[in-house]
Symmetry: C2
Subunit: 246 residues, 2 copies
């Protein structure tokens, strides 16, 4: 009985190891990535560019786009995109189409996201939930819907960067809410486009060192949030609480 369990675990570990060693063969297919200003988006854009893919990288800021372009080959193209703005999304979808034409889009990586305020729920303004959901949930949904025809043309794939916090709501704020939502969207999308040959995957990073998990940013945001609280609420928690949070 125990031997069987052990063998089963070993077999599973070997399969896992083999699966993780798989990687895409070098290719000149088109991949569109959002949020390439920094973090995972930027790293992936450069990595795929090195491997010969034709990377279409969208950035939120001109400086992010310029910096990326300087580091990359001339195959890589950048554009500005605010995924919360439907007009910006439509414009960029047309830009992608002029690049990919009949080849279609091999990959869409919905990477752009923000952390928002990570803190006790009673401290948080409604606006912040709104903003984080707009970026992290409605953003990828809008980009995906706009690019689906091009993805179907290439029988491509969608990769949504969710988070371990998309499975476990470990803290207050819009982040977990938004990533739970993106997990749901990814799962229903997966079934709805499978028959067109489009694959959908999620990546659920833990606490990697990207701007989203920058402790300095998170603490500054929380401090600003504390400073805006009514004195009665501050007294309710006490100064010591804030120190403990950090």
């Amino acid at each position: 009985m125990w031997l069987l369990l052990l063998l089963g675990a070993l077999f599973w570990a070997v399969l896992w190891f083999l699966r993780d060693r798989q990687s895409l063969p070098a290719s000149d297919a088109f991949v569109f990535i959002t949020g390439c200003d920094s973090g995972f988006g930027r790293l992936l854009a450069l990595r795929l560019d090195q491997r010969g893919f034709r990377v279409l990288a969208s950035c939120l800021t001109p400086s992010g786009a310029e910096n990326l372009q300087q580091m990359a080959s001339s195959r890589l193209h950048t554009t500005l995109l605010d995924i919360t703005d439907p007009q910006s999304v439509q414009r960029v979808a047309k830009w992608v189409e002029t690049h990919v034409r009949e080849a279609g889009l091999f990959g869409l990586v919905n990477n752009a996201g923000v952390a928002g305020i990570i803190g006790p729920t009673p401290w948080l303004p409604w606006d912040d939930f709104h903003r984080v959901l707009n970026v992290n949930t409605l953003g990828p949904i809008g980009v995906t819907l706009a690019l689906l025809p091009l993805l179907q043309r290439a029988r491509g794939r969608v990769i949504n960067i969710t988070s371990v916090l998309g499975r476990l709501a470990a803290n207050g704020g819009g982040y977990c809410v938004s990533k739970f939502g993106l997990e749901a969207f990814s799962d229903s999308l997966r079934r709805d486009v499978a028959s067109f040959g489009v694959q959908v995957s999620i990546v659920e990073p833990g606490f990697f060192r990207t701007p989203v998990t920058s402790l300095e940013n998170l603490e500054n945001t929380l401090q600003a949030c504390w400073a805006r609280l009514p004195p009665a609420t501050q007294a309710h928690y006490g100064e010591a609480f804030l120190t403990k949070c950090e």
Copy 2:
């Protein structure tokens, strides 16, 4: 071994049965419920009213509010609330405070919700996701944040009506996305307010006969969605697909 398992299962079933038989003792505490025009909200408002609770019922439509008021005792008060409108939420939070005063709010039931379009993701407009998330996720979040001080005063409880579709993304559209998000909010809220004596529960209904699950509504919405699709997409799926969906 099997006997132990059987006894365990029996014990669990008895505990479950006893737990489900529990019910709140009659009380004149204040309970605020959203979405009392129809469905669960209306039924709960009338039930709690009968049991002596002082029900503060919010409706989206004047006709819903009038109809409820006619069926209820004079203890029950109605107000109009659009949970997607922050000003409307602020106004109603003040209205609740003038009713509950020092007693505080014993219960908040976030019941209001919409189904949106339930259909294949590639058919859906981004707007619909936006609308459904605004009502089903950001709505309850805004109402909860606005009423938290009154809930803390009474060491009350929040009950969020999510859905079985908040655990399993069984279909396309904003509904699952929004309910996944509400589950995450409920779980982090639960931890963040526990130390103030405020409890948070979720109710995850299946396919009950309420306006949200009305097949007629869902089919009409889907038909309208189909009619708006570009002819190329319609041809891609074929008329037979729509019939099969229904």
